[in-house]
């Protein structure tokens, strides 16, 4: 069974699997998982926050890989895939930031903290927003724009470790009130629930990416058909 056949199965496999996993995840996160001693029930936000963050990384790495493939093969289907994945990545980044702030308010007392991870995530959000703005503001079928955006996405993705390092140093080299981000080793049950949530959200992200890619591919196809229709009509007249 080759890769194409597996990809053909996406509509049959992904939606039900992702759906069931998500419902299971909600039940596990809200009911089964034990209440955290220090943070209380708010800690349960971790089960959507962490998976969202991982899902966004997953989506952005798909964008980066597809961008490389586009540059090598110059096939627009890879450009479509990169765009579709970038949108999904942005949505999960946004969800990560929102759930993070909602967790931060009761625990830290503020919604926003210039913590290394949060700041990195924000910058990631900015980079890929810029990528999408650039891509959407230019012609869908333009070789140049697609190349520019692919290069931008690759650089942006490779920038992540550096951003993280710089933000972390920036925050830690400065004397400032230490905010304890208590993250002791999670108890076994919590760990299991977390792992399951990660799996569920990644499944959803994969499903969304396939849907997003489908949309972009259809847009490309529509563009081509419009062009053909234009030729036909002009030939008739």
């Amino acid at each position: 069974m080759n890769l194409n056949n597996i990809y053909e199965l996406r509509w049959k496999v992904l939606p039900p699997l992702a759906g069931v996993a998500m419902i299971g995840m909600a039940a596990l996160a809200l009911v089964t998982a034990p209440t955290e001693v220090i943070e209380g029930d708010v800690q349960r936000l971790l089960y959507v926050h962490l998976p969202s963050a991982l899902a966004s990384y997953f989506a952005f790495s798909v964008t980066a890989v597809c961008s490389i493939l586009f540059l090598l093969k110059r096939d627009f289907k890879w450009d479509s895939a990169a765009q579709g994945a970038a949108v999904v990545g942005l949505i999960f980044t946004l969800l990560t930031l929102i759930t993070g702030s909602l967790w931060g308010k009761p625990i830290w007392g503020v919604y926003w903290q210039w913590d290394p991870r949060i700041t990195t995530t924000l910058i990631l959000f900015l980079i890929f927003s810029a990528y999408l703005i650039a891509r959407k503001s230019s012609s869908l079928d333009s070789d140049k724009s697609a190349r520019f955006c692919s290069i931008y996405a690759i650089i942006g993705f490779l920038d992540i470790p550096l951003i993280h390092m710089s933000v972390r140093w920036w925050r830690t080299l400065h004397p400032q009130p230490i905010i304890a981000k208590l993250n002791p080793a999670l108890p076994d049950e919590m760990l299991l629930v977390t792992l399951f949530s990660v799996l569920a959200v990644i499944l959803v992200a994969a499903w969304f990416i396939t849907l997003g890619v489908e949309t972009e591919l259809l847009s490309q196809r529509l563009l081509k058909l419009r062009a053909i229709a234009k030729i036909n009509i002009s030939e008739k007249s």
Binding site: R74, D141, L223, L225, R226, A227
Partner: protein, 225 residues
């Protein structure tokens, strides 16, 4: 049998889904001079741009003297001379400065001699130290003729080389490029897009006519070479 200088096979290029060049297959023998005819938007420039390695084709293949155009090798780039629609010149350089840089890039031996000879042939030697930005279109075009011949290319890809040229300039163009009459040069293959169909008879050994990205008429007679 004669070598093929330019050979394309189902060459296709699409913009915004529209084919600008649609499965074009031509074979041009070495040493022939082919006029590329057709209306605006017929795909002439696209074909020449792909052949000069500036544009990726969407499908099909093209070879110049056996070198695959898509591979963009140094060897290929050393043997093509190109004149595009737009002059390719440093506006704030003098002709000498511009040509000296490109002589270096193409590793032209005895470059000073060569530059002087070419600038004299195109009759702008007296303008050698003026800024190119102050030139008229015709003067720039003459300089482009010199520049395209600088490294003694074997294949010339010209996009409307007549632009801006007066009667005198056309004579220079015919002598140097279209008639291959440059002193001591081996026959060069020429593929030139042109709108001046009345002039084609004077220099071309054959022609290709494009319409909407497809070949509709060809005469690649080799006998009158």
């Amino acid at each position: 049998m004669q070598d093929l200088a330019i050979e394309t096979n189902c060459l296709t290029r699409r913009y915004d889904g529209l084919p600008a060049l649609n499965k074009v297959s031509i074979q041009i023998a070495s040493g022939s001079r082919i006029a590329l005819l057709g209306n605006n938007g017929s795909g002439k420039t696209t074909l020449l741009t792909i052949l000069s390695t500036l544009l990726q084709s969407s499908g099909g293949s093209a070879r110049i003297l056996g070198y695959d155009v898509a591979k963009k090798t140094t060897a290929l780039r050393n043997i093509i001379g190109v004149i595009r629609h737009q002059p390719m010149l440093y506006e704030n350089f003098s002709p000498i400065e511009d040509l000296e840089l490109f002589a270096k890039i193409y590793q032209v031996p005895d470059s000073d001699e060569r530059i002087k000879k070419l600038l004299t042939s195109v009759e702008i030697w007296h303008l050698r130290d003026e800024m190119i930005g102050t030139f008229s279109r015709g003067q720039k075009q003459r300089l482009m003729i010199a520049k395209s011949l600088l490294h003694k290319p074997k294949v010339l890809l010209l996009d409307e080389p007549e632009i801006g040229l007066d009667q005198d300039g056309l004579r220079v163009l015919d002598q140097l490029i279209l008639m291959n009459a440059e002193e001591g040069s081996t026959p060069v293959t020429v593929l030139a897009a042109t709108h001046r169909e009345e002039r084609v008879d004077t220099w071309a050994t054959g022609f290709v006519r494009l319409e909407r990205g497809q070949i509709i008429e060809t005469t690649l007679s080799k006998d009158n070479l």
